[in-house]
């Protein structure tokens, strides 16, 4: 495969990963609102959130692999797992490594949710709010296209959409009719001693 194709694939997969990750964050924020309608059952939002999260990992893998095997930068596989170990754009690539590891932790703990428990899963899942902005900063700092018009528009749409979703989530209370009962049940379970 040509080096130039690898480079363009890296950039294209990075842009798609940012779009998908933004969509995953938006769906995750909105799933807590428990939205449903006649043609959109309530389980559909978290199910789509899960599917898109797994798909994001696939495109993120493509982004990472094509960047590492690109002979122009000589990043090396250590850069994938050790933040700030790259000689090339050390800080911004390190942010990408951190974002990837946070996302991987979130996905792995979601798949092992039954083993680690609800409280630990929820605590780790809050890392999403750190992973997404770190990934966006990585795209701004490392991205060759960061100052291109099309990428600026893409970034504004992604950042604006996620911001709107978070603001909407804060302003609009959950429509869950069983929220109070569910909270009481959780607190009762947490108080119950092990027997």
């Amino acid at each position: 495969m040509s080096d130039i194709v690898l480079w363009y694939t890296t950039r294209g997969a990075g842009a798609v990963s940012m779009i998908l990750l933004s969509a995953v964050v938006i769906l995750g924020v909105l799933s807590s609102l428990r939205f449903q309608s006649a043609g959109w059952p309530r389980f559909l939002t978290p199910a789509l959130h899960r599917n898109l999260a797994l798909m994001t990992l696939v495109f993120l893998g493509l982004h990472i692999v094509t960047a590492v095997v690109d002979p122009f930068t000589h990043l090396g596989w250590l850069t994938v797992v050790v933040p700030f170990s790259s000689y090339y754009r050390t800080f911004w690539l390190g942010l990408g490594t951190i974002a990837f590891e946070l996302l991987a932790a979130i996905v792995v703990t979601s798949l092992l949710r039954g083993l680690i428990g609800q409280a630990a899963w929820r605590a780790i899942h809050w890392l999403t709010y750190a992973s997404w902005p770190v990934a966006v900063l990585h795209s701004f700092g490392t991205g060759t296209d960061a100052l291109s018009g099309w990428f600026m528009v893409l970034s504004i749409v992604c950042v604006g959409s996620v911001t709107m979703a978070i603001v909407y989530r804060i302003l609009v209370p959950s429509t869950d009719p069983l929220a109070a009962a569910r909270g009481e049940f959780r607190s009762g379970v947490s108080r119950k001693p092990d027997q």
């Binding site: 694939t9 294209g12 199910a47 798909m55 495109f59 990428f151």
Partner: protein, 108 residues
Amino acid sequence: MTMEGTKPAEARIRARDRALALLNNITTYVAFAGIAGVGIFGTVSALTIPGVSASPSSGATASATTSNASDSTSSDSSSSSSSSSGLSSSSGSVSSSSSSGVAVSGGS
């Protein structure tokens, strides 16, 4: 269990199946859109790569500079004229060697 109880259950099952089909369709469409997006964004980034212009103006600049240099050499003038294409001339002065007559353009 009466028939009144089974009908809503069947309706719920059908609704759930429709929703699962919708979920699969959306996931498939997003996957294909993502693959297409890699190609589209890769192409767009190739066309808009910083430092490279997709227009043929760079070639015109080179030819214009060459013609200016040759013109200034033949006329023995230190200032070069701008070309008809509207390109600005080099700011540096153009000098020629007295022995070989090879013109060297200044600046970039």
